[in-house]
Amino acid sequence: MELMGRLLAWGVGVLALLLLVLAGWWGCVLLTAPYRRRREASVRNKFLHSVLWVYFSGDEEAAGADFFVRRGRRIVAECIADLAGSTVGLDPEPIRRIVRELGIEEFLWRRVRWCRSYRRAYYLQLLSRIPVGERSYREAARYLNDRNRHVRFCAMSVRMAFDAEGQYAALAEYSDKISYFELAELVMRLRHRGLPVDYRTLFASPNRNLQKLAMGVVWHYGLTDAEDELVRILSKENPEESAGVLYILCALRCSVAREEVARFISEMKPEWRKALLRYMARQGYSVHALRVFIPDDERDYYVSLVDSYKLNVG
């Protein structure tokens, strides 16, 4: 009994000590957080200034590579990703040189290997936004079957970033159905490439992800020419994508009195149709335009919507 008591006391003492150390560590993290944020912002500013100087002065050497290696390659990678994400037309060679000199690619892959879950996805996403080599293309294949969906998507993005010509094949092989958030990300990447997108070929593909990509491109660029291709996707076997097609047709202000469209809307679930009517009211469709498929009770609801949005439609 005495031994048990002593062991218990020791256990409680060790636990208390551990808790004290943990609390102390956490307190230090909180107290130093403002200092770390200021330091990060300072490094970010210096690096950005250095890179922009290289671009606009034509000077080939970015100043202070050692400084950035010591202070944080993660910050450098984030800056490059942000700059590449918001601008276009800058010569990629200075950035490639900086990535090589500072060993950014190797650094990020080390982080990918050590981290798990969303942290790993974050570093993969950074890799997909900076100029990478063939090594990244091969390494990313390892994470295409990761347990975490976001990791799988970011790994595919890394492969797409490296291989512009094979990007559609990479998307077709992707095991998951891409979500609308992922679709927005993919459309942004296509914009960055600045290459023409043959959306008709994508629509004709039997692969659902490629069809969805085509839908995203059409919506994003407001391509009213794609109305026929959109209508062909409408199908009861595919209610979710078909609902997406309807929203795109409304965003493009296409006619909804078309036979296939009107039939599909009239056969929709009432709650889905109600949500669609709210969107159509915001897009400015008149009650007259919807007369072919709205039951009387929903027509009154639609009139009240139009009145509430204070739209003057015929």
Binding site: F56, D82, T87, G89, G222
Partner: protein, 122 residues
Amino acid sequence: MYRILIMSDDAVLRKAVAFTLNDLEAHIECTDRMETMLALFRREAFDLVIVMGTAAQMCRHEVMETLRADKRRSPRVFVISWAQSENVSRRMLTLGVNQYMTLPVSLHRLRRKVVNEMGRWS
């Protein structure tokens, strides 16, 4: 001196654009929020306002009202946003925006446009 006001909540983009224009004979101010931009604009006269981010912010009625309140001066307004469709660009021009560009933005092209504006102003 030509006065330029830049608004963007993206710090990297804000600094990149400011750096692109910093060798021009212009005074440049940057801000990260629309409210701060409007407050700065009310306090001082700017010749060019560059708004970057979402075009939706420009649709708030107080934004263009503030920028066009003083009938004696007519600052140029550039909007740079992600929205690509024709509807949005037409709406921006209807609101009174002078130039609508889409993101990702070409810094060289933006600089050329600003230089042209400065040439007209002088």
